[in-house]
């Protein structure tokens, strides 16, 4: 049962990710991303990370994706090609990607790490629950937690700077 769930999640995640970059219509790409994120949430559940799975669904598949859909609907229907290929890019990019994939496969398959290949570590009761995550955030990772809140503040200020009423553009690109 667990294996079936794993392969279902893995195929969904990989298929969704490939579809995001392969589909031409940005709106379908966004939908494929939703499939990908839901599958990932399923994989997190298998890893006993219930809180992360729930957050994934609520934050990414819910909130962030709604934003993406809005953006795709707002600027969608652009007929221009999305990218001007650099000469040789269409050949080189897949080659480099494949090389990286082979390297990563060698790394994972060739590793002598003991916990790979057997059952893995025994998971303590309460692992991944909201309580345990909250405890980690307030005890061990207090500083990153606080820094992340400041990061959000700064990002909000940045968004205001970039999105504020535009001054009169002096050149073509200013109004883009």
């Amino acid at each position: 049962m667990e294996q079936v769930a794993f392969f279902a999640g893995a195929i969904g995640a990989l298929g969704g990710a490939i579809a995001v970059i392969a589909l031409r219509n940005p709106f379908y790409s966004v939908l494929a991303l939703v499939v990908h994120l839901f599958s990932l949430a399923g994989l997190f559940l298998l890893l006993h990370a219930e809180f992360v799975a729930a957050a994934q669904v609520v934050v990414y598949a819910g909130a962030v994706m709604v934003l993406y859909v809005f953006v795709a609907a707002y600027v969608g229907g652009v007929e221009e090609p999305l990218w001007d290929a650099i000469p040789g890019q269409r050949i080189l990019a897949p080659l480099i990607g494949a090389a990286l994939f082979i390297e990563l496969s060698i790394a994972v398959l060739g590793s002598g790490l003991k916990s790979l290949g057997d059952e893995g570590e025994v998971i303590p009761a309460g692992f991944g629950s909201p309580e345990a995550v909250g405890r980690l955030l307030l005890e061990r990772f207090l500083i990153p937690f606080e820094a992340a809140s400041l990061l959000l503040l700064i990002a909000a200020v940045g968004a205001v700077v970039l999105a504020a009423r535009r001054p009169a553009p002096v050149d073509r690109g200013g109004a883009a």
């Binding site: 790979l116 500083i143 940045g158 001054p167």
Partner: protein, 520 residues
């Protein structure tokens, strides 16, 4: 029941001062009129001064792990913190008449600047993977925005977008690598725990090695090490000049600090594996940066490529894994900060005074009219090339000395050859200053400061209604910028002749990591 971790407020005080400063600057920016540059700048400088004072105080205190081991306050983090704060303090006067800061609002610009400084301080102190990543993002995100903050110039927008995309790729690569290292070390996030987890058994395990490679690539994007440097010239050219100056200097300092701490503390067991790889990267970077800078007409692009080459020199100090190497790295970073701030400030001033933007034409023949600017830029160029009598020379000397002592003599040779190549393009700037006649077109004088710099011949943009026309230079502001330029230049020369204060300063950095480092 939550067991709150012990918090050493004394050691955290520079961070707390910055956070408080960010809130005050942001709120003051919201009240009052948009153009309130004086108050905002003064508050920013006060915040930076408070942080600097607290950092100096901490320099005398013993090293400490802070808040459940998330951060570490030691010589390395404090010296890098002081370099970053000094760079930010030199940028603030430059922004006073900066069209980008005017457009985005001073409160917002300074908030973002201080946010980035906070990220850098946290990054220099970070000693677990989580705070490492969060601090890196806190450093980067304000910079993405600041690069694109001059929205009426398409170049600035392009620069911001390019930096955002490339920076995100760097961050993602780094995160991917961290995940491999986390797995390879048996689920450790603290740097010391990672070193124990890797130990001798897994030091050359492919899983750990791919993690190290990915983290190195992610950091290489941040410090612009070839072949991950392609974004540097474009972003440097497009970003508002004060931001370029800050990025060039402070980002490099903070990223090198965490680079050193992570590779030496956490990945120390695998040092035999990553040392040759980083040495090859350093050699490639020195060649690519110096060759790329030849024939650049835009001064900011030239300094961008020069920054790539300098990153190669600095990487040499890092990869040796010795106290001497780290000392040389921090010395070089401090000298580089002074030199680069002076050079970029001169470019910024000329950008506002002429219609040539950052083209080399803008500094042609300024020897007669503007001797102070001319001498500052000349000394900066010579110091970047590493001529004796400047801090740049002493910095290179230390790096080469450390490289020889660390059995990387061939890298020392690369530094020397790279410096020789670099003389070609640095001397080209010096020649333009002193030997070329001033361009025929009369300079548009300082009144044109709000006009889009870098695009000559475009119609001038009038200020928004309700905003005071901000072009007219008032004597005080000019003197502030000029004072910053002259101070940085004077320090460059002074530390070139009497380097001992700066040597003592950088020696703190090596002490911080001494327990992890080899001697020599």
């Amino acid at each position: 029941m939550i067991e709150t971790p012990a918090i050493d407020y004394g050691a955290l005080s520079p961070i707390i001062a910055l956070v408080a400063g960010i809130c005050v600057v942001l709120l003051v920016g919201l009240i009052g009129p948009r153009g309130r540059r004086g108050l905002s700048s003064a508050l920013t400088l006060a915040t930076l001064a408070a942080a600097a004072g607290l950092l100096v105080w901490q320099l005398g205190e013993p090293d400490a792990d802070l808040v459940a081991g998330a951060l570490r306050s030691d010589g390395l983090s404090i010296t890098i913190g002081l370099i970053v704060v000094a760079a930010a303090a030199l940028v603030v006067p430059l922004q006073l008449r900066d069209p980008a800061a005017e457009e985005a609002g001073f409160g917002e610009t300074h908030t973002l600047l201080l946010g980035s400084v906070l990220g850098m301080l946290l990054l220099a102190e970070a000693q677990n993977l989580i705070s490492f990543f969060v601090a890196l993002e806190l450093l980067s995100i304000p910079l993405y925005v600041l690069c694109g903050s001059h929205r009426s110039r398409s170049r600035s927008l392009e620069s911001g977008l390019k930096y955002l995309i490339v920076g995100s790729i760097g961050s993602a690569t780094l995160l991917y690598g961290s995940a491999f290292i986390y797995g390879g070390s048996g689920g450790a996030t603290d740097f010391t725990a990672i070193a124990q987890g890797i130990g001798a058994d897994l030091a050359d395990d492919p899983l750990v090695l791919i993690g190290i490679a990915l983290v190195a690539v992610g950091l290489a994007f941040k410090v612009s090490i070839a072949p991950f440097h392609q974004w540097t010239p474009d972003v440097y050219e497009g970003a508002p000049t004060p931001i370029t100056a800050f990025m060039a200097v402070a980002t490099k300092a903070a990223a090198f600090a965490v680079f050193a701490r992570f590779f030496i503390t956490a990945l120390g067991p695998s040092a035999d594996q990553w040392q040759p790889a980083l040495a090859a990267l350093a050699a490639v970077t020195i060649v690519v940066g110096n060759v790329g800078a030849l024939g650049q007409d835009s001064l900011k692009r030239l300094l961008g490529y020069s920054g790539v080459a300098q990153a190669g020199y600095m990487l040499t100090g890092l990869l040796l894994g010795t106290v001497k190497g780290i000392d040389a790295l921090v010395f070089y970073l401090a000298a580089y900060m002074l030199i680069n701030m002076a050079a970029f400030a001169v470019i910024a001033v000329r950008e506002r005074e002429t219609a040539y933007g950052d083209d080399i034409t803008a500094v042609q023949g300024i020897g007669k009219d503007r001797p102070a600017l001319a001498w500052s830029l000349t000394i900066s160029m010579l110091a970047l090339a590493g001529l004796p009598g400047t801090a740049g020379f002493i910095g290179k000397l230390f790096l080469i000395e450390a490289a020889v002592a660390g059995n990387y003599t061939w890298l020392g040779v690369f530094i020397v050859v790279g410096s020789m190549i670099s003389l070609v393009y640095y001397l080209r700037v010096v020649a333009a200053i002193w030997m070329r006649p001033a361009p025929r077109l009369a300079p548009a004088m300082a009144g044109a400061s709000t006009e889009a710099a870098g695009e000559p011949g475009l119609p001038r943009r009038t200020g928004e209604p309700g905003r005071t026309p901000s072009g007219a230079p008032s004597g005080g502001r000019c003197w502030l910028v000029l004072g910053a330029i002259l101070a940085a230049t004077a320090a460059t020369v002074a530390f070139g002749i009497v380097p001992s204060p700066l040597i003592d300063f950088s020696a703190h950095a090596g002490e911080g990591l001494a327990s992890m480092l080899g001697p020599g």
